[in-house]
């Protein structure tokens, strides 16, 4: 559409109705007023036509990923579903070594969702996109009847470019490689649990959701030999480490005493009988580097906003292949397995 003619606040309804999904004027108003006018530069076609100089480099690879986001509550301390829909997909690209460029955004909206909520989600998405330096270039909306959804579901797909010569792959992790995280663990999961409000927990924990692409670029500039990185989203650090151990056929040993955990997150976990290693993160990654480059990686990470709390948590080992073992603070050991289903709070 023509940005110059962009009328503001064309949607006057308080809440989304089925009319907003009917393919007519109400739908067009919703899309243009609430979404495309917010995404910069404003306006988009159903089909985005894209060009970027980095695509022309010989040996460059296109990276393409997609992810769906459902979170309850939709808005939580430190972000909302829009923030994680952008950060999640940006981070999926970034940890594979890609420079994220463009995103699509598709919304499934349940009848009755307040328009103001949608406006907040759209503006969070734009803010996150700006922070990451990506553009939301195409999208879609659908409205479903009350009870057929849960607020808003967002699906984002992302396209990025992996520069020539970069090859981050989990199977390249070797015994001796050092495991580094960029900051505290479990903030997102703990913030969501507290925000659900059904446990009467009052905390100041904020979700960690943030784009990690600048951090990745910084560490890759300093240490081109980064073997692999994973964002520790659903299933937490434990799942990310298990995936790497599996792919590389190595053992991974982490030290409980070195895990960066906020006291509040530990507290929430103690009360509910949860393990912070399995709590979701939305702006936390773990990466493996050769041992002699750990210091360089740490300094490069710490120089970025998202990597200030970077620290070593363990290493890859030849012992116990495909198994993650944590040395407890007492010197005992325990296996850190993949989660079976979701973590269920204990009775007592």
């Amino acid at each position: 559409m023509n940005a110059g003619l962009r009328p503001m606040r064309r949607v006057v309804a308080d809440r989304v109705t089925l009319a907003h999904g009917g393919g007519g004027k109400a739908m067009r108003d919703l899309i243009e007023d609430v979404f495309t006018s917010v995404f910069a530069p404003p306006g988009m076609e159903d089909q985005a036509r894209l060009m970027h100089p980095s695509l022309l480099e010989l040996g460059a690879q296109l990276a393409f990923t997609t992810d769906s986001f459902v979170v309850s509550p939709m808005e939580f301390p430190g972000g909302d579903i829009g923030t994680i829909a952008v950060c999640g997909t940006v981070n999926d690209l970034a940890v594979g070594g890609a420079r994220p460029l463009w995103l699509s955004a598709a919304f499934i909206i349940e009848e009755g969702v307040p328009i103001t909520t949608l406006r907040r989600i759209a503006s969070s998405m734009q803010a996150a996109a700006e922070a990451a330096g990506v553009r939301i270039v195409t999208g879609d909306t659908k409205v479903v009847g009350k009870g057929s959804g849960d607020g808003v579901f967002v699906t984002t797909s992302g396209v990025g470019v992996i520069p020539p010569g970069r090859n981050l792959i989990a199977s390249s992790v070797q015994p001796g490689d050092v495991a580094i995280v960029n900051g505290v663990l479990g903030d997102h999961g703990a913030a969501i649990l507290a925000a659900r409000g059904d446990m009467a927990l009052t905390t100041d924990i904020q979700s960690d959701c943030q784009p990690l692409n600048h951090l990745m670029e910084a560490v890759l500039a300093a240490v081109p030999d980064v073997r692999a990185a994973r964002d520790a989203t659903r299933g937490g650090l434990a799942s990310a480490l298990n995936e790497i151990a599996d792919a590389a056929g190595v053992g991974i040993e982490i030290m409980e005493a070195d895990l960066p955990l906020r006291a509040e997150v530990k507290g929430v976990c103690e009360i509910l009988g949860l393990d912070p290693l399995y709590l979701a993160n939305e702006g936390t990654l773990v990466l493996f580097v050769p041992p002699d480059q750990a210091e360089a990686a740490l300094s490069a990470m710490r120089a970025t906003e998202a990597g200030r709390g970077a620290c070593v948590i363990g290493r890859a080992v030849t012992a116990h292949p495909r198994t993650v073992v944590m040395k407890t603070v007492f010197g005992g050991g325990r296996i850190v397995d993949m989660l079976v289903g979701e973590q269920l709070p204990r009775i007592c």
């Binding site: 446990m199 507290g267 103690e270 509910l272 073992v325 007492f330 010197g331 296996i335 079976v340 007592c348």
Partner: protein
């Protein structure tokens, strides 16, 4: 973390561990002739494996993992009955999260939910009562289970529901008490137990005196313990010292939380609302006299067994556990989890056959999840 990190101090732990090794030695216990200490509570079992304490204690000390995991000892028949209530039209069944996956004969609650029953996870029975207030046209049932740690909150919720005259709310009561199964275990001629570590949170409610019979009648030491690793280690040391000195006493390691006489307000609420059942079935252990609680007739309006005509004693009991499942032998310390033929094969946390594999406090699940045999093979 305040009031927790202090009890996870590795330096202090090393000191206690050294003392444990010394006293075990003084007792003359060896790998072949070990001293057997039962940690009654699933929370303690979980802590032992989570912190790898079993790898740090001497080979002459053997932990027997007791029956104190309320989800694990819940008999299959009660899950079946809970599913039956949940599947009735108009019912919202509410439950603690870790009861969701316990296998029933037909299905677990999580399967019943997928099949269309309205089953919701809550964190407290009061949340269930609130749900009843917001859904006056539905019958909200709370799947009440747990030991003395959760019985008072269910009792207080019933009293609240009675005060509010909330007619669409009831409890499917499966509450059980700790002392009777300990007595049953002590009466079992096959059991070899030298002492107990008692669950601190239970004693926070009932005090330490309900355990007097263990020392007085059976001549065994018991130490009521907190849940941090140092609490646990210190309690084990206290039990060992009693054994070495030939004492049998009820000691309170967790005095920062546990008053010797418990919590009189909680006890009064429970006495008002519940009465003991003549007997109750424990998975793996069988029927144990006076080990379960039911809702007194005075509060029958809130008793799901009465409301739905599904009750203890109304149908055949003691649904047999699946073939080859040896939860009972594990729970009585006859075998270690990995000695069960189904362990890690037919029975895993993904597809639990027996209840001890379901809850993270179950001995088998803790053993499987945190290492046990797999860790020994791995390290």
């Amino acid at each position: 973390m305040k009031y927790a990190d202090e009890f996870r101090d590795p330096v202090a732990a090393r000191g206690v561990l050294a003392a444990i090794a010394r006293v075990t030695d003084e007792i003359g216990a060896t790998k072949d002739k070990p001293v057997h200490i039962m940690e009654i509570c699933g929370g303690h079992t979980h802590a032992i494996f989570r912190y790898g304490l079993d790898k740090l204690t001497p080979p002459g000390l053997e932990f027997i993992h007791g029956p104190g995991c309320p989800v694990c000892v819940l008999p299959m028949s009660r899950i079946d009955e809970c599913v039956e209530i949940a599947e009735r039209s108009g019912v919202i069944m509410t439950t603690f999260g870790d009861a969701m996956r316990v296998p029933g004969r037909r299905k677990s609650l999580i399967q019943a939910k997928a099949d269309g029953a309205d089953i919701r996870m809550v964190y407290s029975p009061l949340d269930a009562l609130e749900l009843a207030r917001r859904n006056p046209d539905r019958e909200v049932v709370f799947f009440g289970l747990g030991f003395e740690t959760t019985t008072p909150s269910t009792a207080l919720t019933i009293l609240q529901a009675a005060a509010d005259d909330q007619t669409n709310f009831s409890i499917f009561c499966n509450h059980i008490t700790v002392p009777p199964p300990i007595k049953a275990l002590l009466d079992d001629p096959h059991m070899v137990l030298d002492g107990f570590v008692g669950p601190g949170h239970v004693s926070m409610v009932i005090g330490i005196h309900p355990y007097d019979f263990i020392a007085r009648d059976y001549g065994k030491p018991i130490v009521v313990a907190g849940f941090e690793p140092l609490d646990l280690l210190q309690s084990v040391l206290m039990v060992l010292e009693q054994i070495r000195d030939g004492r049998a006493e009820v000691e309170n390691q967790y005095s920062r939380v546990v008053p010797d006489d418990g919590n009189p307000v909680s006890i009064a609420a429970c006495t008002e609302v519940y009465e003991p059942r003549p007997s109750f079935e424990w998975r793996g252990l069988g029927e144990i006299d006076a080990s379960g609680l039911r809702i007194r007739p005075k509060y029958a309006a809130f008793d799901a067994e009465v409301k739905f005509g599904i009750g203890y004693g109304l149908g055949p009991r003691a649904v047999a556990d699946p073939d080859g499942c040896r939860c009972g032998d594990v729970m009585t310390g006859r075998i270690k989890p990995h000695a069960c033929p189904q362990f890690g094969k037919g029975c895993t946390p993904e597809m639990p056959l027996g209840a001890l594999m379901v809850s993270s406090e179950g001995a088998c699940a803790a053993y499987y999840q945190y290492g046990g045999l797999r860790l020994e093979e791995a390290v």
